[in-house]
Symmetry: C2
Subunit: 472 residues, 2 copies
Amino acid sequence: MPETKVKKNDDFNEWYNEIVELSDLCDKRYPIKGMNVWRPYGWKLMSHVDELIRLEMDKTNHLEVNFPLLIPESSFKKEEEHIEGFGSEVYWVTHAGLNELEEKWLLRPTSETAMYPIFSLWIRSHADLPLKTYQIVNTFRYETKQTRAFIRVREIHFFEAHTCHIDFRDAEDQIKEDKEIAKRLFQKLSLPFILSKRPEWDKFAGAFYTISIDVLMPSGRTLQLGSIHQYKDNFSKPYEISYETEDGKHAYCHQTTYGMSERILGALVGIHGDNKGLIMPSAVAPIQVVIIPILFKETKESVLKACENLDKQLKEKCIKSHIDKRDITPGNKYYDWELKGVPIRVEIGPKDIEKKQVVIVRRDTSSKISAPENSSVETIMDELQKLSENLYNNAKKLLDNNVHRVQTIEEAKNLNGIVELPWCGVESCALEIEEILEGNTLGEPIDEKKCQDFCPVCSKPAITWMRYAKTY
Amino acid sequence: MPETKVKKNDDFNEWYNEIVELSDLCDKRYPIKGMNVWRPYGWKLMSHVDELIRLEMDKTNHLEVNFPLLIPESSFKKEEEHIEGFGSEVYWVTHAGLNELEEKWLLRPTSETAMYPIFSLWIRSHADLPLKTYQIVNTFRYETKQTRAFIRVREIHFFEAHTCHIDFRDAEDQIKEDKEIAKRLFQKLSLPFILSKRPEWDKFAGAFYTISIDVLMPSGRTLQLGSIHQYKDNFSKPYEISYETEDGKHAYCHQTTYGMSERILGALVGIHGDNKGLIMPSAVAPIQVVIIPILFKETKESVLKACENLDKQLKEKCIKSHIDKRDITPGNKYYDWELKGVPIRVEIGPKDIEKKQVVIVRRDTSSKISAPENSSVETIMDELQKLSENLYNNAKKLLDNNVHRVQTIEEAKNLNGIVELPWCGVESCALEIEEILEGNTLGEPIDEKKCQDFCPVCSKPAITWMRYAKTY
């Protein structure tokens, strides 16, 4: 079987760059760097991820909206920290036709400043709360670092949920729900993740606190797939999002947001793929089962009939199956569909028809099973499930083997992946460790707070663990 | 029943402006004029229209892609007529952060100039053809005329199909397919339309010819919902989209495009709606059936049970039904759902349970039917179908009664809607008629070419009919 030129274990980043183009996910030759073309296969995959997100949003009573892309400078400038955080990263529209605009507009880097002036009109009374909205749109950030398909781009396919609540506690409940959504969603994608509460100096511009959702890539670097933010009333005050309480007073809303991006696709590619190409979990695979007829002249008809019969049965079970009838060798077909990451390949030839069986090949393990024809659909559905579980377990092993809790910087230095060190709570100590480890702070584990050890920099009692990793 | 302040027959345009906001389709208070906020109900409707389009595209083997929003000035400038046509209508990004860009970028007004440099890389040989792609994205045009929700906006929700073919004839076949797609799609939307071949001076900038898809709004003005363009090799030459033929030569592709926009929603609102609100054809209604329990204390439980039973049965048939359990009067519920255009309302009260029936109310005719409980699902499905047919027939009557074929400008002057006059083929004659009628040329009927009459301006023999109308 043909394989990628660069091997995943030899040079992960180069392998990644090769695979995203070989498998027809995107085209990086667009004349603006970091703005890539979504090819049909890549766009389909992304759309399937979007659909899973929409399903979770529907289930939790979020309503889909769609706000304008362009934001007037004056709307953008209402929250000070926010503009400090994003000001240097935005694209500006200054002209329309031959005219200079009276006020500059920016392309949304995220939509707080587009939405919140309108939220202040939508929300009048406690009966309007909670307001739970989301949108799936493209956002724009002027990246100066090296770009990488799906991981660091300048036009970003983006999901953002924005919610408004009567008080801090209700907003906290939303964040609990958000964590549950992440759990369900990333389970379907076979992507184990960790949640970290970002340190003060690295939270979202304007947020009260930020929880980041990170996965570990096989290179040992972490990739942030999303984040959940508690805004408290930091935005609702400058944007005047207030409501009349039940007893007739006025109060400001508390807000949360939840963002995720096309980086999810980067994680699916990077974590699950191998030297033969992509491996897609069943939940998002554009084709879940490809059926390959093994054709000889004299038995062609019966083989095709068996293939069509299976295809029909699978479609009745809502499984996305496809018969590859192209006039090329079966080997070439195997190669194509392995590259595209189709989870299950079924081969049907004259011998299989004689034996009333089909041959089922798993993309992840290459294992071959002969299944009786009359139970083939069940076996295939079973194997689809097992493949997703196997992908998850492999990724979980990778993650678990690469989270290291240690006490000293010396120990941390030689470790790959994520290290957790005791932290006293002082910014300068964490920054010093960042520099020594040539990594970044990810934040504190959100599920446990206590750490009985001592800060390895200042030797004072630690108040928590702090995670460090090299990041994308 | 409450009605709109402005009546549809009294002042269509004002009624339209009122209804799009009252029914929660969009919010026009965004601080940039002509860039409106899609509210959840409006976005859902638009998404359903998009899904119908995707269905047609899938059926005809078009692949969905997604190209970057921003286009470098140099890509944009390759086709002369195109830039002449669009140059004064585009928004320019000139700065990123604090830096001035080396080359200006524009926000796509349409995507030819984004796609075609990449198509020239994708297409190498005749085996790569036809290339049939489409995308659903937002486009941007600097409108200087008065804006109107869905009809004239500056950020436009847009569908665009782009195809490449071996020759003119194959591209012509694509245009035939496009017309069939329009027929199927607009039938589902209950929107009768006419196709006109635009005159030379009014075709798409760069096209060989343009066919426009127009509907007639109740105001007597036409609304262009889409267009189909034959580009010949007008773009493939400057963008170098060529291929190797079977006999080893090089040839330029012939191209077509097919565009439609959120104006479809404008037509659905304007043509079908009435003084009580929207009326949505079943194919796109976010809620197709709303069930209203008529609740009294002693029978509450059995009524709710009957409602839930029906709701379940409808959902099994993939009908989008909803039980309105809110604690407000049935009358207020009727009002809300009429405003939103839900096609069928079902009322179930204690008397209906006694009689083992449900009451079915059609949104379009207000007709009430009592249907036996055990056949209620069939009756509802039937009525949904009938409603769509009735909407179509009403719109068809409006259109047919307002297309007037006459010989003289005098006759044309007093007519509302679309007038067809003999035309000699000379631009100045048509422009003179435009001026006298205070309307625009729509173009020639595409299905018949011959006209035996004489041009009402120059009196020379006519070669075709020319349509004129006031347009949005």
